[in-house]
């Protein structure tokens, strides 16, 4: 087992598990928080697009200059916090090269406006359609935000400019950070993949042991059930069960494991069939050992090495099934998973927005996790059966 350390998949899995456990701490906000404009591109794409910015006027800094070298921001909003009421003063906005500043808003406590408000656009003398930010940021150069008139000002004016770029991986249709969602999704895939396979292995092992050791009618009934379950289309059954039994994470684990124990049962049964008539088992039976004892102490341990490999190779199936069900929209909408992210990308306009950055992280994440488990499974299989190793001929 020591050369496990030389496998890339081992380190990759370790990283994923650590991410699932502690990844949430990398972000200040919970993943479902809306942090920026919808469909913001990743920061490292398109440098002409503006980043998200916040301009703040306070008593200490009653005016500030912005050097703007980008396209207009995709959203513009202004909020005024002050204890004073009507003061007759204004928040002003001076475009580069303009002589007179534009009166943006009255300096009034509790004033709030958004670039999409029709009343706000009318007060600026702009057409009622579109976002005001396009005409407020019509040029590139140095802009100035200031207060008109004289006197003290207690409170703050906050102008929020939501850019078209945000974070490492951009944002989704609701403006949530995709990097945070991605990290939150690792956990669901790992939980479902590992626990569904554990449960399925448990089911498959017990039924396979019973079928192989007892034989007779138990065997034929169990193998008939295996044949039946293998011949019905799996996904429609899973869909129906997910819709009927509820969409929770643990219900999903249960449903997936009920329909994926068949392969393990067959493997264990075949193994037990070859061992059942081995001389040492026959000897034990001759000595009067009860069936339960033989099964527990001699047959079960024999299956462990094989089980370890089949179990690891079974995890990708569970991960892909969970992703498929979530993609079809049959998962709990409150639980963030990679399948769910792809579902939202598909049904909430990522295609019309051309938002490819919503597709790649979850899809590649699923594929990477599956490859990791496939590689680990292959490694374990080679341990169990050294003939499978490269260059070794039987």
């Amino acid at each position: 087992m020591r050369d496990l350390r030389t496998r890339w998949s081992f380190w990759c899995l370790l990283l994923m598990v650590l991410t699932a456990l502690f990844g949430g701490r990398l972000f200040d906000a919970p993943p479902e928080r809306e942090v920026a404009a919808p469909f913001s591109k990743p920061l490292w794409i398109d440098r002409d697009l503006p980043p998200t910015k916040e301009l703040r006027l306070t008593a200490d800094a009653p005016s500030l200059r912005v050097d703007w070298r980008f396209a207009p921001p995709s959203r513009f909003s202004i909020r005024i916090d002050s204890s004073a009421g009507e003061s007759g003063r204004f928040v002003e906005w001076r475009k580069p090269g303009a002589l007179a500043p534009l009166r943006l808003a009255p300096l009034k406590a509790g004033f709030e406006a958004d670039g999409r408000d029709i009343a706000f656009k009318r007060s600026l003398g702009l057409p009622p359609f579109g976002d005001a930010s396009a005409s407020l940021f019509s040029e590139q150069g140095e802009y100035e935000l200031s207060l008109s008139g004289e006197g003290d000002f207690d409170g703050s004016v906050v102008v929020k400019l939501e850019g078209g770029r945000w974070g490492v991986l951009g944002t989704d249709q609701r403006g949530r950070d995709i990097a945070a969602l991605f990290v939150a999704g690792v956990r669901v895939s790992l939980i479902v993949g590992i626990f569904a396979t554990l449960l399925a292995t448990f089911l498959g092992t017990s039924l396979g042991l019973a079928s192989g050791y007892l034989g007779g009618w138990v065997d034929s009934i169990l193998m008939r059930i295996v044949d039946l379950l293998l011949s019905i289309p799996l996904l429609p059954v899973l869909m129906a069960l997910a819709a009927l039994w509820g969409k929770g994470l643990w219900q999903l684990v249960l449903i997936l494991s009920i329909f994926s124990w068949m392969g393990t049962a067959r493997t264990v049964r075949a193994l037990v069939l070859t061992l059942r008539d081995a001389p040492y088992i026959e000897g034990l039976r001759g000595l009067g050992a009860p069936s339960g004892y033989i099964l527990r102490k001699h047959l079960l341990p024999e299956t462990f090495p094989v089980l370890l490999a089949t179990m690891t190779l079974g995890v990708p199936g569970a991960i892909l099934s969970e992703a498929g069900l979530s993609f079809l929209g049959l998962s709990d909408p409150r639980v963030i998973s990679w399948g769910r992210m792809l579902h939202e990308a598909h049904s909430f306009g990522a295609f019309t927005a051309g938002a490819w950055w919503m597709l790649l992280p979850p899809g590649l994440g699923i594929a990477l996790l599956c490859l990791v488990f496939l590689d680990l499974g292959k490694f374990l299989e080679e341990r169990v059966d050294p003939r499978l190793r490269k260059g070794v001929r039987p």
Binding site: I232, M239, A240, A323, F327, W356, L359
Partner: protein, 323 residues
Amino acid sequence: MNYWGRRIAGALLVLGLVLALNFLLFRLMPGDPVASIVDPRFSPEAKEQLRRVYGLDKPLPVQFVLYVKSTLSFDFGISFLTGRPVMDELRSRVPNTAILLGTSLLLSAALGTWLGIKAALRRGSLLERCVLWSGALSFSFPSFFIQLLLLMLFASMIPIFPLRGTLSVPPPPGGAALLVDYLRHMALPVLSLVLLGFGGWAIYVRNLTVKILGEDFILMARARGLPRKNILRGHVFRTMLPPLLTIFLLSLPGIVSGAVITETVFSLHGVGRFLLEAVTGHDYPAAGAAFFLLSLLTVACNLLSDLLYGVADPRVRLERGNR
């Protein structure tokens, strides 16, 4: 009972179990099935009337017999959502699903077999490595991710293919224009299924061919001086046929499941998406019907492959007992 009889009996048994499962799945769910269509303000008499219309007032075994009778005559009742007979809804969708699955299955099988044999004949070549990689990728990448990527690339960024649907809205007039429009909509789904399907198929064929090429009878055929073409066609391909039919059989349930995903990604008017809409909309008659049709398709294809196996490999007909 002979081989054919046993196979048909087996298929009928599976069909019976599917019917039972289908019946139980949509009856034993929590809550009253009528509850979803009954307004709480309805009078008790009206509720009773509705229960009678759907046959829910009779005991469970009687319901089951009635259910089997109506299902086998393809009478699936009335959809809760649309209020129209489920069969009418399905009739327009079955051809789309059949064309989608049939075309892609045939294409990927043909391409996979051809590439697999080629790869086995040229061991260690670039072609063989490509085949092995494409197979590994199609095992680990979720099918809908590949399809979404294709859709993003070829319908959104480079708009060669339409983004959604089976026909344009409104559909173009005239037979030829309609056909072209239909083909344009079906091209990307079929292409994606072929792309996802041929890799696994090619790997399987390659492994089979490599094994067969090492057999003594191939050496013998070579020693007799038979032309390469004849060896490939008469010896290699003929020996490969029965196991190929088996893998065809085993891949069918997965392909039918794939129809749900594919039709959802490309918003096609097919049985798979109908099932999804019925399941999410708690439309039990519709969901039951779609589920039954998909299972029927699987069982029928299984039986067909079994029977073909009997023709291709006459030895199995002599074997006694179960598979």
